[in-house]
Symmetry: C2
Subunit: 260 residues, 2 copies
């Protein structure tokens, strides 16, 4: 999935006459016990169309610190072991008419195991057509789960101090354990597949739209709101930063340039 | 103090041939009980030397929500009343050689009353001469309290995920109630006076220094770190945003432009 996303992003860059490439960087998670803590690989593109696009994969294992163990399903101070693997993607495009986008799928194991996934569209200058196409693709892929997953995204990507959603929504779910591991894995994969099918056409439709200085200013202000969400509310960002995660990988999600 | 700071900032702008002015905006704090909740006045300058400078005053009163009352000295669920007044200042200068700076003094009353104050220097491109001058002025003004206040600033302005201080320090203190109200008030005023004496010469010394694209890039990255601190750790920002404060006034502290 990571490789196919990277290839598609590079296709888009080439179509715009850019020879930008991903910078790929592996990192190792030092486990406090000295055991193999796993690690990950960051892929970061600073492109012409995709001003900043990161596609990270990570697979980590170990034991939760006592102050966190109680907050994770299936974990406890007595049973603090975990295994977590996932793919995380954020795109901040250059053209203000192209929406930013975020996608993440993950699998966690403690004393139980479950999948989670999300993708949400973040246009500085929203187009109803793009929002509708993005949601339609998710509805098709998620089927009967779409309404609940879309509602959860509305709740999750909410900026209480501004009283607005971060973007125009998408889906968010966690703790997916239906009893059918293969079906749950297929659903998590479908989040990635749907992203890969739905986002590139939107990007291609808008990447050549002329943008004014006012459009760019609106985009930079919108990205400020995006940074606020990630630093104030995003569970993964805060958890990662406060538990000594790889800050380069975690902060990959922050915009290349933002204004306040 | 607010008026004198604004006048000094406009002097600096005029010396650079700019006719920038402060935009002044009053806001009212709606108290949930319907009583007079107080309010404040924001003064925001978008200048040539001082790319973004805000000088806010606020005086608010009311009762703390039950979930916060327990965390504030002298307050409790049974005694949730408070009165708070203060002045807050943040400068993000245009030239990367001019340091950003922050200053705040405040007086709080619950069942007790106390002063607090802070100022810290945030240079993207630090000059030892500026850091030394800033700290020397604070040491002179704070006297015997300087070492403890400077140490508290080192603790407070710390970014744990990066393992660095936000800037090059200054002073930070809270809960100052020596028993001599007039002396404590004089000390809080001295924080402002010291800022007003120490910062403008530093700004004037650097404002005409030629800056390269690399200098500007370093400044924008440094400002990202500043935004991280304020959104992840700054007590006033988080408290304000999570309790429905005036977001325009609270986010005044965020940089005009930042990069990641």
């Amino acid at each position: 999935m990571r490789d196919r996303i990277r290839a598609e992003f590079l296709h888009i860059e080439r179509e715009a006459g850019s020879d930008a490439e991903f910078a790929v960087k592996a990192w190792v998670r030092p486990d406090p016990s000295g055991a193999d803590g796993g690690g990950g690989v960051m892929s970061l593109l600073r492109g012409k169309v995709l001003e900043k696009a990161g596609v990270n994969v990570s697979t980590v294992q170990g034991t939760f610190a006592p102050e966190f163990a109680g907050g994770i399903r299936g974990a406890s101070v007595e049973q603090p072991g975990f295994y977590a693997t996932g793919i995380s993607l954020v795109v901040h495009p250059a053209n203000p008419h192209v929406p930013a986008v975020h996608m993440n799928t993950r699998y966690l194991e403690t004393t139980g195991g479950w999948f989670g996934g999300t993708t949400d569209l973040n246009p500085a200058l929203p187009y109803e057509e793009d929002t509708a196409a993005f949601h339609a693709a998710l509805e098709t892929a998620m089927g009967a789960d779409y309404p609940a997953y879309a509602e959860e995204a509305r709740r999750y990507y909410w900026l209480p101090h501004r009283g607005v959603e971060r973007g125009v929504g998408g889906i968010f779910y966690d703790h997916r354990d239906s009893g059918d591991w293969d079906a749950d894995f297929a659903q998590a994969r479908a989040v990635g597949e749907t992203f890969l099918r739905a986002y590139p056409p939107i990007a291609r439709r808008r990447m050549h739209t002329p943008a004014s200085d006012a459009d760019r200013a609106a985009q930079l202000a919108y990205r400020g709101r995006y940074a606020e969400f990630n630093l104030l509310h995003d569970r993964g960002t805060i958890f990662g930063l406060k538990t000594g995660g790889n800050i380069e990988a975690i902060l990959m999600s922050l915009p290349p340039l933002a204004s306040w």
